[in-house]
Symmetry: C2
């Protein structure tokens, strides 16, 4: 260990701050992790790197640190997912008395000036993050993206109108099935037979010029397939409808390319119970007669999401997240961080000599959900069990596909990804 | 003051604990409130009573008291409404790390064992509170009661089936209008022409034997009309559907009298964003084909409210409230407290020689929402303004009816009601 410039730092940190994480740049030069860490349970996985700057940035300010925080784990769950600790701390400090109002946000009238200021700021900040033009309405609704599966065709189609669905994963598939109740659905391409590992060449697609819209799911949470660019809609109205639930606000998006964008908040921007809609105002107001009033986007837009009582606390948390994303420099900065996290994890998989394997075509690999399998699939359960001991949870692949899935949304720090990669290398060293 | 047994107590409390509230039993014997309280802004409204036991019980334990808590106000809003301070404190303490899980409830997978334990306990506790039999499903949904307006007929009727609606306020009226999209609605009685001040003699009602159900709203939040007993359904299936949003869990209810009960949580049992459904299992499974899957109660029941991601944090808060209601002794005890609060406030109105007036027929006055007007309506704005200075807010009547409305849900303490009544007496003394 004497040769290691970080040996002392490492020793100190083992004592003083077991949460720090260092990664070996060159494993050969150093003793194995196990010799450094007699009791796996006692501390986090320890490894060494010479650049801890990023990790340090990723840590919450020491001033706000607490026992509770030190005990927090790395949550790789697909959603509901990890939220910024900073946001949780703010919500915690304001929980009984928001800004001197004498009440919790959970207790406020949704029509009072306090909550109105909260929802208006949330909308304004989201408009800034995504440069949403004024001819688009921004709505905070309930029922998740699954409710929007129905709302899309109920609001944009007359009964039986043709619509095109490009199906690149389970969620796009579910969306197309729900739409069949209200429109004539044509699945113009589906990756199902190939287990959803790619996105087709857009020129292959036979779009229907009479379709009311082309529907895509920009990131498939279960299969880890993400659109890096978007097809040009060939329908007369030039409308794309996009379910952006699992990569919403993870990178800049040109909203004007879309007629309707919808997303459940519980991946990148908030808790479950809030669904965000961004819709071109000229497209709404012609909902089918059978549309439940709560699913009528025109009614919701006219009432600024307050036709009935909205999910106030969830909207408040989304607002805190938007604030945090702006403070981090906006979505271009967020995208840089997400790319770095994604590269780090995919490199670990691709450089494992097949010990770890990601089935998804490299060009469309998701920066949000990273599914992978182990060459020896019998080791997957052990991998998940040992990772949990290292305080890394939520790694089990979706029950429909199995394997491992690491979701690395905005709020997952590079520190967390480095920690996972170090564990993967360690696990491979012990089982490879 | 020498003659007053509470003089010293009062003086001490002015210094040591301005939050205590005492009520005059006999105002004549004591100097006016203002002489006791030179600066209205400096302390809360002070009055004297000889029995402070209840008030003391109503206060949070000193141990958990904090600056934030001392600053909390009396929230008479109609919903979202005041929550038990105890519940908010627990949520605050667990916000970053629920039961050592290392994450917030907002970050948990809805399919993980931690959240499953939360939702299962919430359901179990609610079943205990309302003695819900096993042949009824309990669901935690989204979209508020307004979404359930549609779900009721979509799930219980074939298109065009007749249904009876008994309309005793704005919410029953809204429910009947939404149902017209999916069923043949017959409004068998409406109090609209009388501005909703009464409930008819049930024998007057001409129910349709072929109706699929009889719909009622058991407590009209805006008009303050509450069912004290329920009509016997004359339809062949003997089904009553009840919107219980604003008096849910405020008293015991014989669930078996109803086919479907639904309620937004944001009045008595939680934050907004959660809608609770109690439905007889044999009635679901025949939803209309056009039913959005999220509104299909059978799908939700089969999936134990987890067909998609539910509003996890809201359900968790509801669970904490249910726990608190059980600790208070269950709904019979809660009803006693609510009756005491209601009597206290209605007495103040009825004994004001017409200075304050409640338009609702005494036999059906709501114990949850108490609407009243001032004889001199020009004083109402002043009343609301002065009350706010005394840290009593949310008293403005609904924009559709005006006047004053004091909502005194489960979490509003008797202390709060006593405080309001003392203020009303003071206001009358100064303006009467």
């Amino acid at each position: 260990m004497a040769a290691c410039p970080n040996a002392q730092l490492l020793k100190n940190n083992l004592k003083t701050n077991p949460k720090y994480c260092f990664r070996f740049k060159n494993t050969e030069n150093f003793p194995s992790i196990n010799t450094l860490k007699p009791s796996r349970a006692a501390t986090k996985l320890i490894s060494i790197t010479c650049s801890t700057a990023t990790e340090l940035q990723d840590r919450p300010p020491a001033a706000t640190s607490s026992a509770a925080a030190e005990d927090r784990i790395f949550n790789f769950g697909a959603g509901p997912a990890v939220l910024p600790e900073k946001v949780l701390r703010k919500a915690q400090s304001e929980l009984l008395n928001w800004h001197g109002s004498g009440m919790s946000v959970m207790e406020m009238s949704h029509r009072g000036k306090d909550f109105i200021s909260i929802i208006e700021k949330a909308e304004a900040d989201l408009r800034t993050l995504l440069s949403i033009p004024q001819d688009y309405a921004v709505l905070f609704l309930q029922g998740g993206a699954t409710t929007l599966f129905a709302s899309a065709s109920l609001n944009l189609c007359n009964p039986g109108d043709p619509v095109d669905y490009l199906v690149t994963g389970s969620w796009g598939d579910k969306a197309s099935k729900e739409a069949k109740k209200y429109a004539k659905v044509n699945v113009i391409w589906s990756g199902k037979s190939e287990n959803y590992v790619r996105i087709p060449d857009f020129d292959e697609l036979e779009q229907n010029p009479d379709a009311k819209y082309l529907h895509i799911c920009t990131n498939e949470t279960i299969h880890g397939v993400e659109f890096k660019n978007y097809p040009t809609p060939k329908n007369k109205n030039g409308i794309i409808v996009a379910d952006m639930s699992s990569n919403f606000c993870s990178k800049p998006v040109d909203v004007t390319k879309f007629g309707l964008i919808y997303a459940g908040a519980q991946k990148n921007v908030g808790p479950s119970g809030v669904a965000i809609v961004i819709v071109r105002k000229d497209l709404i107001g012609k909902a089918q007669e059978i549309t439940p009033i709560m699913l009528d986007l025109k009614i919701q837009a006219e009432n600024k999401s307050l036709y009935n009582t909205p999910p106030c606390f969830g909207i408040y948390i989304c607002g805190l997240v938007f604030e945090d994303l702006l403070e981090q420099g906006g979505l271009m900065e967020i995208e840089k961080k997400n790319k770095k996290k994604g590269e780090t994890l995919y490199d670990a998989i691709d450089n494992s000599n097949g010990f770890y394997r990601c089935p998804v075509e490299k060009s469309v690999r998701s920066l949000m959900n990273v599914p992978f399998t182990l060459e020896r699939s019998e080791l997957e359960a052990e991998f998940i069990k040992e990772a949990a001991k290292e305080k890394m949870v939520g790694l089990k692949g979706h029950r429909s596909v199995g394997g491992i899935r690491a979701s690395i949304y905005n709020a997952m720090t590079l520190l967390g990804v480095e920690n996972l990669v170090a564990f993967m290398e360690d696990f491979k060293a012990r089982h490879g």
